[in-house]
């Protein structure tokens, strides 16, 4: 007796695939069923944010009440295993608590759903949870809010959502009022390089607060980014890059002041992994897109595209210089595999300069970055080592930015950033040349 199992096989395969994709818990699903279809969804990923989360959720609720009183809304809180009661704070805040202070009255039930996704923070799992919820609830517009900002205002909700709800944008990136020395990785690498690559002047491509359409959420959810071995690093940047390369409608919206966050030297490599890693890794698959782009265009911007705070801050320039110089010396072998001899020689030359005379010129920095990108694509050494090796060089570039803008006005700072961007654009053929020569 023989059995024809061929008809059964596809079903079995489908079952396994579906089982693999069941990353939402039953309890979370049950909560989503209760929420039902929504118009807007606000994702607030958390991990031990008890100090700030209460005010942020209240600001969000206030924003919903003020700007979207008629919309069906839900706050989704994926939590990475907080031990400080963060989820309880999120779900415990009642919209009615706002009434005495704001005189706002909710027409509708505002659901606040919290779900535990693991025992440690993962922005990728958190975002995936938010996107999945958005798809299941058929949200028309969504935002993700940082759980850390002490400046979050209710109107951030409208600033990120209205362009989607009213104007049909798919992605709303933020712009902020920042200190001139905040976000150096953004101003010296991410913004100018993404601008040169894809031709869009997106000031904050590494987004912590951002808005997106339900359609974009659904598309990104289906992409093969969740189990590709990157552990979801830099998922927010990948999300933005996906929108950029997918030719989605993108705008940016000025939110207001962004917190200054004290960074430690040890924070840099993880930050590079989160940002430069996905930026470089995306180059290969999007070659056809970026290789045809020349110059750049501004994108729709609601409010100013940046604002600069100039108050004096203390920076340990000497240490930056030391870390740059020692890095160039200690990693010479690694750099030989990554950089061209001319670039390496120039780096070694400037590493010997006194701090007072130090300058890591824009052209050299751009070539450095492009050569790193090309080497990353070819995996001349471990890709993670390539990213790590960029850290001391970035410190050198940061030092130059600090020195150049020490006494600079807002206009001076912007002029320098613009100059660097133009340098990235001007030298883009160099990147293409490297790329082709290494193919």
């Amino acid at each position: 007796m023989t059995h024809d199992t061929s008809a059964l096989m596809p079903a079995v395969r489908t079952e396994i695939k579906l089982a693999e994709e069941n990353f939402l818990t039953d309890d979370f699903l049950r909560q989503l069923i209760n929420v039902g279809e929504v118009d807007i969804l606000i994702g607030v990923p958390t991990h031990n944010n008890a100090k700030t989360i209460g005010a942020i959720v209240q600001a969000i609720q206030g924003g919903i009440l003020r700007w979207f009183p008629r919309e069906r809304a839900v706050i989704i809180n994926p939590d990475g295993g907080s031990r400080d009661g963060t989820p309880e704070l999120v779900t415990g805040i009642s919209i009615d608590d706002l009434r005495p202070v704001s005189n706002l009255h909710a027409l509708r039930t505002l659901h606040c759903v919290s779900t535990l996704y693991g025992n440690g923070p993962s922005s990728a799992v958190a975002l995936r949870t938010i996107l999945a919820a958005a798809e299941l609830l058929r949200a028309k517009a969504c935002i993700v809010m940082s759980p850390e900002s002490s400046h979050t205002e209710g109107d951030w909700v409208s600033k990120l959502l209205l362009p989607i709800r009213k104007d049909g944008f798919d992605l709303v990136t933020p712009t902020y009022r920042r200190h001139k020395f905040d976000g150096l990785l953004v101003t010296n690498l991410l913004y100018p390089m993404i601008r040169a690559l894809y031709g869009l002047r997106i000031r904050e491509p590494y987004m912590q607060e951002f808005g997106f359409s339900g359609g974009l959420a659904g598309e990104f959810l289906l992409q093969d980014v969740w189990n590709d071995g990157t552990n979801g690093r830099g998922i927010e940047l990948r999300f933005a890059l996906s929108a950029i390369t997918g030719r989605q409608r993108i705008c940016q919206s000025f939110l207001g002041q962004k917190d200054h966050v004290e960074r430690h030297a040890a924070d840099l490599v993880p930050a590079l992994r989160e940002t430069v890693g996905p930026l470089f890794s995306g180059l290969e698959s999007t070659l056809r897109t970026w290789s045809n782009v020349t110059g750049s265009q501004p994108i729709s911007t609601i409010g100013p595209d940046h604002e600069v705070l100039l108050n004096p801050v203390r920076v340990n320039r000497k240490r930056l210089k030391e870390m740059f110089s020692s890095g160039v010396a200690e990693l010479a072998g690694v750099f030989q595999a990554i950089l061209s001899p001319a670039t390496l020689a120039e780096l070694q030359r400037i590493a010997g300069l006194e701090e007072g005379n130090f300058c890591y010129p824009a052209e050299l920095w751009v070539k450095t970055v492009y050569e790193f990108a090309a080497s990353y694509q070819k995996s001349v050494i471990s890709r993670d080592h390539i990213i790590q090796a960029l850290a001391p060089l970035f410190r050198g570039r940061a030092l130059t930015f600090l020195l150049e803008n020490r006494n600079g006005t807002a206009e001076d700072v912007e002029s320098n950033i613009e100059g660097l961007c133009l340098e990235f654009e001007r030298l883009k053929p160099y990147l293409l040349q490297l790329w082709k020569s290494r193919e």
Binding site: R30, Q31, I33, N34, G36, E37, P69, R70, R72, H105, A106, L107, R108, T109, H111
Partner: protein
């Protein structure tokens, strides 16, 4: 069928609101009359209602649909005679239907002889029966109710060269309740009808009886004292009769109208009605549960009176500005539909003639705590005519059949007191009693059944309410309890099918029996009770231990 002798009869009542003029014309003059109403009492009995509320039928210039009374002790000649009214009363009682009539205490028509005397001379004995003033500056803190037509609560009387006070139209001068003679006279008026046998009064515009400087002239203690005095006399001389308050106020302000059970027996729950519509449109129970949470407890002998629509606009006075804007945008996008602070539309058009929503709203009306009032014609899904002025668009002739004048009158069509609804959707050929009686699945037949189900249990009229709070906010669920009887009502406010888990632990061991089809549902256990409901579906379950 004898009348139920229980003095709390109004708690079990299902009231049908009707204007004699609109219901049935027996003599072919184009105007409904008492003889016509009497002929149609069988229809109301078959519908299942056990009380009717008659809108003003007194002699009147009819500038406010009879709320401008010119003689309190007679019947408008167009509607018949006092004898005709007596016959209606008797016939209704014989059918087990009580009769509640309108009583406008606050004001009269300016054509009433009392006002004519009052304005005739400052020395007239009835001068002080109304509120006169040399200036229009008094009581400035008082709001104007008919914003669309009135600019002030004072009107200049060129005859007596003074201002008189009016809270409604300027042709409706307010009586002066500070005058004991007025209070005495109005009790005499009420006694006149009570002695004839009416079962209760719907007292119109009761918050406004007394004026005091520096106040908003609403809900004043002096007003409550007057109303308590009326109640005291009623209980002493006519026990078992009922007073229903029309006080369009917030729940906290409404509560005093029940006092300690010694003022009104019933009061309309005005704030609930718009929130039922709001909850339906929002697909969210929040507006409904919120207002009911804010509704204070009332004495055991008292009762809320619930309604979906009535002869007035769907009032939006008792909502916030934001809620009002939402209601306008949701239910009256066409500004012609708006009047004062409300929406002048009937139930079916408000709900887009969606049978499921009409049933759901009636289901909630019948199962929330209170006595339901059905506005004439809504039981068949009658439409409205927003092109008629004021609120006349919701006061068109009852549609009895698809024949001549909708079976309402044998008069020439242009003699009818108001044009019939003619449009293809709601016109009388499409929507009428006769055709719906012929169809088991018509709205009318459904209304008969739901009324019968409601009447099968006193829990709806007298039971307590406990809201369940399932996480699914589209589901409005509550348990009504009276003694050992418990009924679970579950309403899906959503246009989509919903699953809901109900916490029924308290009722563990009970089985659920759906009250309409009498079908059993599984026994309540330890786990949340899972129900699925279709779009706008609702269930009433009797909870039974077997």
């Amino acid at each position: 069928m004898p009348l139920n002798q229980d003095v709390l009869w109004y708690k079990d009542a299902i009231i049908y609101q009707v204007h004699v003029r609109t219901f049935y014309d027996s003599n072919g003059d184009g105007i409904g009359d008492f003889q016509g109403l009497e002929q149609k009492l069988g229809y109301l009995q078959e519908l299942g209602v056990n009380a009717i509320w008659l809108m003003p039928f007194f002699p009147s210039p009819l500038r406010d649909d009879g709320y401008d009374i010119a003689d309190y002790n007679a019947v408008h000649s167009g509607y018949g005679t006092l004898e005709d009214f007596r016959k209606v009363l008797e016939s209704a009682h014989n059918r087990g239907i009580r009769v509640i009539i309108e009583m406008v205490l606050n004001h009269t028509s300016d054509q009433h002889p009392w006002f004519q005397e009052s304005r005739s001379s400052r020395d007239n004995p009835r001068r002080d029966w109304y509120v006169w003033s040399e200036t229009d500056e008094r009581y400035q803190a008082t709001r104007i109710i008919f914003l669309d037509t009135e600019k002030s609560n004072w009107a200049w009387d060129p005859i007596s060269k003074a201002y008189y006070w009016h809270r409604f139209f300027s042709h409706q001068p307010d009586l002066n309740y500070d005058n004991p003679a007025v209070r005495e006279q109005m009790w005499k008026v009420m006694s006149f009808w009570l002695e004839m046998g009416v079962d209760g009064f719907r007292l119109d515009a009761v918050p406004y009886l007394v004026e005091r400087e520096g106040t908003n002239c609403e809900n004043l203690p002096e007003t409550h004292e007057i109303l308590k005095d009326i109640r005291r006399r009623l209980d002493e001389q006519f026990p078992g009769r009922m007073l229903l308050a029309e006080a369009n106020q917030w729940p906290a302000d409404l509560r005093p109208y029940f006092a300690e059970g010694n003022e009104f027996h019933m009061a309309f729950h005005f704030p609930l009605m718009p929130r039922m519509f709001m909850g339906l449109k929002l697909e969210d129970r929040k507006p409904i549960t919120e207002i009911l949470q804010q509704t204070p407890e009332i004495p055991a002998s008292c009762q809320w009176s619930l309604f979906l629509r009535n002869h007035d606009e769907l009032t939006l006075e008792m909502v916030t500005d934001m809620e009002r804007d939402y209601m306008y945008d949701s239910y009256a996008e066409n500004k012609t539909m708006r009047l004062n602070l409300g929406i002048r539309r009937r139930l079916a058009p408000l709900l887009d003639n969606d049978r499921r929503r009409i049933e759901l709203m009636n289901g909630m009306l019948m199962s929330l705590p209170g006595t339901p009032i059905i506005y004439y014609g809504d039981e068949i899904g009658m439409g409205d005519n927003i092109n008629l002025g004021d609120r006349n668009g919701v006061r068109t002739p009852m549609q009895w059949s698809g024949g001549w004048n909708a079976g309402f009158s044998e008069a020439e069509p242009d003699r009818l007191y108001a044009p019939l609804i003619q449009n293809p959707v709601y016109g009388y050929p499409a929507v009428n009693v006769l055709s719906q009686l012929g169809s088991e699945h018509s709205l009318l037949r459904w209304m008969q059944r739901i009324i019968m189900v409601r009447a099968s249990s006193a829990v709806f009229g007298r039971g307590s309410i406990e809201f369940l709070r399932p996480a699914n906010h589209r589901i409005l669920a509550y348990v009504r309890r009276l003694g050992n009887e418990a009924v679970l009502a579950v309403n899906n406010l959503s246009s989509a099918a919903q699953a809901v888990e109900l916490d029924l632990k308290k009722y563990k061991g009970n089985i659920l029996i759906e009250m309409s089809g009498k079908n059993m549902f599984p026994r309540v256990g330890d786990q949340p009770y899972l129900l699925t409901l279709g779009p706008y579906q609702f269930y009433w379950f009797r909870l039974r231990r077997i």
